[in-house]
Structures are given as C-alpha cells and as structure tokens.
Amino acid sequence: MITPEIISFATVLFTAVCVASLISILYAWGLRMWADGSVDAQGNAHLMHRVISVICFTACVSIVLFALWLMIPMFH
C-alpha cells in the first residue's frame, strides 16, 4: 500500500534530483560555452557559444531568484 508519506518522499526525491541536476548542468554548460567562446588561435570569435553561455547563466539566475521567492514567505 502506498502511503502519503511515501508519495511525499518520492516527490521530494524526484524534484530535488531533477532541479539540482538542472541547475548544475546549466551552470556547467554556461562555463564551458563561455570558455569555448573565447577567441581561438586563428582569431575567430565564437559568438554563438557566448550567447548560449549567457542564456545558461540567465537561467541559473532565474532559478536562484525563484528560490528566493519561495524562501521568503512575505512574497507569496
């Protein structure tokens, strides 16, 4: 029999794993794309990498702001 506690536990586990993985992969991709976007030996600038990097970091900032919103009860 599935009790409400087991459902809560499974939900917390699933959400925590997904969100922690998402924010980690976004930040890691942001760093990698930023590093790849620097001007190479041939003098080529990889603008697209930098754009992807900024998008990844923006997504991370958005998640942090959402976390702050969740954390502070007077906001909701």
């Binding site: 506690e5 809560s8 536990f9 939900t11 917390v12 586990l13 959400t15 925590a16 794993v17 969100v19 922690a20 993985s21 924010i23 980690s24 992969i25 930040y27 890691a28 991709w29 760093l31 990698r32 930023w34 590093a35 991370c60 942090v64 976390a67 702050l68 969740l70 954390m71 502070i72 009860p73 007077m74």
Partner: protein, 389 residues
C-alpha cells in the same frame, strides 16, 4: 504576575536565546563548510556572510511556529509549562555543545524536540507524547534526508564532470568558486528564515502562556530582533569543529563538488519544506557532501565519520530527551530547582568549553586537518639523527 513566574520566564527567554546562539554556531557548517574547505571563501568572510544572511533571514520570515513542540507533544492533553520548555532547551543546548565538542553535525531541531519530549514525560507523563509523530517527524526524516540530498548531489556532480571534462582545471575551479558562493548563501538565508523562527515561537508562546502577550498575537519586534541577533552571533562565532568535519572529514571536496553539494542542499530544503515534508538542514547538507564524494571517481568517502554522524543523528533525540528529563525533574520542584537547573547547565557548558580548549579549532587551523580530537594532538619529537641530517 508573581516574582517566581517572572524569574522562570526570564530564565526561559535567556535559555531560548542561548539555544538560538548554539543553533547558529552548530549550523554554520551546513552552509559554509564546503566553501571554506575548497577555499571559495576565506573562513572569516564565510562566517560573516552566513551570520549576516541569518540575521536578514530572521526578519524576512514572519511564519513563526504555531506550536512549541511541532506536534510531537499532545498539547490538547498536556499544558506545556515554562519549566518544561526550559528543561527541553537545556537538553538541546547540552547536546548541541557535546556534538560540537566532538565535531559531529547534528540537528538542533531534533535536539530541541527530544529535550521537550523528555521534559514532558517526566513532568506530565507518557500520554503527553505523540509517538507516531516522533517516528514520522524525527526517525524517518533522519534516514530519508541524507538519501534524498545525497542522490541529488551525486547526480549533479556526475553531470557537472561530464560537461566540464574538456575544460582546464583552472577554468573549472575558478568558475565554480563563484557559483558555490551563491548557493552557499542561499543555504545560509534559508537557515535564517527557518531556524530563528523556532526560538521566536518559543519566546512568544511563553509570553502568551503567562499573560504578558495577548493570545493569538505574533512575535513582538524585540523578540524578532534578539532572536535574529542571537542566531547571527552564533553563526559568526563559527562552529569550527563541525565545519572541519563537514568540509574535510567526510571527503575531499573540489569547487564543482562544493557547488553540487550546496545546490542539492538548497534544492532539497526548499522542495521538502514546500511539499510539507520537513527535513533537517544538517542531515540534508551532510548527505549532499557524501553524495558529491561518491559522485567523483577516486574520491573516497570516510565511512567511519559518516557512520558516527548517522549514530549521532539517531541518538540526538533520546540523548537530548534524557537531559531534558533530568532537567525537568529538578526544575519542577520550584523556582529554586529551576535556578539550580540553569546553574548546573551553565557549569556543564563551561566544562565543555574548557575541554574544547585542549585542542582548539578556529578560523586559522580549520583546514589543517580532517580530524577533530578532544585531546591535544601529540607532536612527534624531532629525532636527533634527523636533525643532524
């Protein structure tokens, strides 16, 4: 109000603030241990940031606990007298100090509830305790917390290392240093919004119980301020012994692992509290550090330390309960019994502080070793032959 009640209320407030202080310095490690261990933040900077965020957090949340016991005590059956609260607080303080002395992270909330339950059993009988709630709110979370946070951190660290494997070590280290600082600050802020409220609730409900505040009213501004300052001061003092265990004792942490650990901790704490499945911050943070250790190849986890931590978590509730019960047995004899209880608790606390001076851990030496010993480490005498060589 008679002078005896006033004395007891005064002692409860002072003891509650002392508990808040120990809660702060015991839990500094949760947010800042990995940042200090990886060098992302200097030790003093880390505790200043954590202390400030705890103070800010205390003012941000007004959701003070509606019950002192969190449902563990049948408050319809038992009236929780100020003496019970005092005894419970003493049980929690002594347990916090003992675990700090041996450098073990343990849940301050579990210690507080354990102390209260012990005091209520002695003061009002076994029927006052809701044992089903003890299992669902204490025992199950103690086992579940490290699993949830550990798995989240394990997955996060695996993904990070898969993405950054072609980057230089220097780029990875410096990049994750900034991210780790942000995630650590999130954990510190969430600690302030949660833990300072417990003491505010205790003081407010005590004031209501003795008629110094109207029933159903929230905490006074001075209560919010002193509770915020107490937890911030405790956090600023830094529980360096616990910081050493969490930062260095469990596993060797790099900045990507520190980032993953703090991100997993913050996520787990937020998700669990919003889904009504409250988990202990201490156990979540410890679990996520173990998870990051397991997630990196060739990075062993010190299972001896992890095992001691698990035992401490399971023992916290009954151990604080025994101290709370003994304190209540003396406190309920009257006002002089209450004063004597506090005096004995102060003596025990002083002995623990004295013992900690044998082998002090502070901001200067926190990263020098991974062990926390009570007795001073013996320095090996330099052999004459070696000197000659």
């Amino acid at each position: 109000m008679d002078p005896a009640t006033l004395v007891i209320v005064g002692l409860v407030i002072v003891t509650a603030l002392t508990f808040d202080f120990t809660n702060g310095f015991h839990d500094t490690a949760n947010a800042m241990a990995t940042s200090i261990a990886t060098g992302a933040l200097k030790p003093k900077t880390a505790v200043i940031a954590a202390g400030t965020l705890n103070l800010v957090g205390a003012f941000l949340s007004v959701e003070v606990a509606k019950t002192i016991s969190g449902g563990l005590i049948n408050e319809q059956v038992v009236t929780i007298a100020p003496e019970f609260i005092l005894a419970g607080l003493i049980g929690a303080i002594i347990w916090n100090l003992l675990t700090w002395l041996v450098g073990l992270p343990s849940s301050s909330s579990h210690a507080l509830f354990g102390g209260l339950v012990g005091a209520v059993i002695i003061g009002a009988g076994v029927e006052g305790v809701n044992f089903a709630a003890v299992i669902t709110k204490i025992l199950v979370p103690a086992l579940v917390s490290p699993i949830v946070a550990g798995l989240a951190a394990f997955c996060a660290v695996k993904l990070i290392f898969a993405v950054v494997k072609h980057m230089s070590e220097k780029q990875v280290e410096s990049g994750f240093r900034h991210g780790q600082t942000v995630t650590a600050c999130l954990v510190a802020l969430s600690h302030g919004t949660n833990d300072a409220q417990k003491t505010m609730g205790i003081i407010t409900l005590t004031l209501i119980a003795v008629g110094l505040q109207p029933s159903g009213s929230g905490p006074e501004l001075w209560v919010v301020a002193v509770c915020g300052l107490a937890i911030a001061a405790g956090t600023y003092m830094g529980g360096w012994r616990v910081i050493r265990t969490l930062g260095k004792g469990l596993t060797e942490i790099s900045t990507p692992q520190g980032f993953a650990a703090e991100a997993a901790s913050a996520t787990t704490i937020l998700v669990s509290s919003h889904l009504g499945f409250a988990l202990s911050t201490t156990q979540v943070c410890s679990g996520s550090i173990i998870g990051t250790g397991l997630g990196k190849k060739g990075n062993p986890v010190n299972w001896g330390v992890a095992g001691r931590m698990l035992i401490a978590w399971l023992v916290t509730f009954p151990a604080a309960g025994i101290v709370g019960a003994l304190a209540c047995a003396l406190a309920k004899t009257g006002v002089w019994g209450t004063v004597a209880t506090v005096a004995i608790a102060v003596c025990v606390a002083l002995i623990i502080f004295r013992l900690s001076k044998r082998n002090p851990v502070n901001s200067g030496n926190v990263n020098d070793s991974h062990k926390v010993n009570i007795n001073a480490e013996k320095t090996r005498a330099v052999q004459p032959q070696a000197q000659a060589a």
